[in-house]
């Protein structure tokens, strides 16, 4: 195993230590592990997210002014535990409630629900919004449902700006849900990846094959094929996103009136001619930046042909799977509100503009 690690059993701690030293505006806490904005949150909704480690810069790299207030890193590819979100939530609670942004993986959903229940017991209002934007998966009834991919980054950015604008908890949760149904992603892998704990690749991928429709945990995708050119790969991912039909599923959310978790039916938008989108061409951690630009060239071409206009873009490593080579594409349809909030200043280790 070729990794810059010391103790493979718990790399998260040593990585967090360096992260805390490098980022002066961010406090790092251990046992339970979480990172949060130094100085806390006053009189506005606080924004918390988290997930397994190994997806850096997600989520810690998005903590800062104008984005997340706290992030809870689990073990590598393993969702964090409720005590982490419980402590993080208490630390950043600004008296106006907490929005937890949760990627749709069984472990994340369950652990964040438990944390929400615990925080609520402390008198803190909490809403969980699930991000499930992975169009590789068609069906929600016979699967765990679509996974959370790149739309998560946009949701964190947009909601972070909205929280600073003074959105209350319900309005912020509604905005986050809107971003989720406006976002669609799909990814592919050229190589597998190796968690420090295991020391061997998560799945085997022959030298001439690639995996299409992957998530971000080194798990296999929905299908395998011979390696194709960058243009062909981009076409597979983009077409699937552009052609994605209205996707309806139940998502669990907290019903304050009922005082219980309820299933709410949600339907995605479909992308139409004339739509304006934020595009992410995201590397999986081991993809040279230059290759991502090759993908972007084709993506821009394909969307333009369909009358979908890319008004903002991010090209780089934003939500990764350790050192995996591969790419995911995200398109989030914008409206005046989303674009205004996206453009608002942000200062985090991984996303920064306007300040």
């Amino acid at each position: 195993m070729k990794k810059l690690v010391n103790n493979a059993e718990d790399v998260t701690v040593e990585q967090l230590k360096g992260f805390g030293l490098a980022c002066e505006d961010i406090d790092v806490h251990f046992d339970p592990n979480y990172v949060c904005v130094a100085g806390g949150v006053q009189d506005r909704v606080a924004l918390v997210s988290g997930g397994g480690s190994g997806h850096e810069p997600l989520h810690g790299g998005y903590v800062g002014t104008g984005m997340l207030d706290a992030a809870c890193p689990g073990q590598v590819f393993t969702s964090p535990t409720p005590d982490q979100m419980f402590e993080a939530g208490k630390a950043v609670n600004g008296g106006r409630g907490i929005l937890q942004i949760v990627k749709n993986y069984t472990g994340d959903v369950l652990n964040f629900q438990m944390a929400a229940d615990m925080l609520r017991d402390e008198g803190i209002e909490v809403r969980n919004v699930i991000i499930d934007d992975d169009v590789a998966l068609k069906d929600s009834l016979y699967t765990a449902g679509r996974r959370g991919l790149g739309t998560t980054v946009i949701a964190e950015k947009v909601c972070g700006a909205a929280a600073r604008e003074g959105y209350d908890l319900d309005r912020l949760a509604a905005l986050c849900k809107k971003v989720n149904i406006h976002g669609k992603s799909m990814g592919m892998a050229l190589t597998s990846c190796t968690t420090p704990q295991n020391g061997t690749p998560s799945f085997e991928l022959p030298d001439d094959e690639m995996e299409i429709g992957i998530g971000i945990h080194g798990e296999p995708g929905i299908m395998r094929s011979k390696i194709k050119s960058a243009d062909e790969v981009t076409e597979i991912l983009t077409d699937r996103i552009l052609d994605d039909e209205a996707y309806t599923r139940n998502l669990s959310e907290w019903d304050p009136a009922k005082g219980d978790w309820v299933d709410v039916e949600v339907t995605d938008i479909t992308l139409q001619k004339g739509d304006e989108v934020i595009a992410i061409v995201n590397g999986m951690g081991g993809t040279p930046l230059s290759e991502l630009y090759t993908v972007y060239a084709k993506l821009a071409d394909l969307t333009a042909r369909r009358g979908v206009k890319i008004v903002r873009n991010l090209v780089g490593n934003y939500i990764t799977s350790l050192e995996m080579a591969g790419v995911s594409i995200t398109l989030v349809k914008t409206d005046e509100e989303i674009l205004r909030l996206y453009d608002a200043p942000v200062k985090t280790p991984a996303l920064r503009w306007g300040m």
């Binding site: 590819f77 535990t81 765990a144 798990e219």
Partner: protein, 217 residues
């Protein structure tokens, strides 16, 4: 064997069960992680081993079975993470609820424990038997245990039957197409692989049977 020993599960037996589970999961760490590789994210063995190591560290002294099992639940919830953490945590938590203060369990009480545990997992996981999850081991085991007790079997025999049912349930996951958890993303490609969660569930139940067997010998 005497009726007293055979008819009840005592606090030391429960403690032995938990300790044996920790050992068996440590021994099977690589195996469980390997099972989680083709249809998951290769961490199940690591998760369970880390969780049960924490369970042992925090396990309270004394004979309160409810307190012990609640402690197991809390350790798993705060140390496992992933899907398995909250699911196993819920299983022990919901199962332990009616057992607070108890220092030994009758067959009926243990059957209730298993039923509550299974119900807890089903609710938390929105899942059911046949979806290629830990429930495919847990639910048949709970059912087998209750039947054995109803038929007058003693505790070791009933637990043995439960472990056997879990083993069969675990093996039955191989041809299934997963409908919950990470494996479900693979669709048909999940067929042909044994579910890691069902395997850890079987191991935990087999540990229970072995611990009680050893205690009554």
């Amino acid at each position: 064997m005497t009726d007293t020993l055979a008819g009840a599960v005592t606090a030391p037996m429960v403690r032995a069960w938990i300790e044996k589970s920790a050992k068996v999961l440590a021994d099977n760490r690589a195996h469980l992680t390997e099972l989680d590789s083709p249809i998951g994210d290769s961490d199940h063995g690591n998760n369970m081993d880390r969780g049960f190591k924490a369970v042992l560290e925090k396990l309270p002294q004394g004979d309160d079975i409810g307190a012990m099992l609640k402690s197991v639940a809390m350790s798993l919830i705060s140390k496992v993470g992933g899907a398995a953490g909250p699911l196993y945590g819920t299983m022990f938590l919901d199962g332990a609820k009616p057992l607070a203060g108890k220092t030994s369990l009758t067959g009926e009480e243990l059957a209730r424990f298993f039923d509550d545990a299974v119900a807890g997992v089903m609710k938390r996981g929105r899942s059911d038997v046949g979806m290629k999850t830990m429930l495919d081991a847990l639910a048949p085991a709970a059912k087998a245990f209750r039947e054995e007790i109803a038929n007058g079997s003693d505790m070791p025999a009933a637990l043995k039957a439960a472990a056997k049912a879990a083993e069969q349930g675990m093996e039955a996951t191989i041809p299934m197409q997963a409908q919950r958890g990470r494996a479900s993303y693979l669709g048909e490609r999940s067929i042909g692989h044994q579910d890691p969660g069902a395997t850890s569930s079987y191991l935990i139940l087999q540990a229970f049977s072995d611990a009680v067997e050893e205690a009554v010998q």
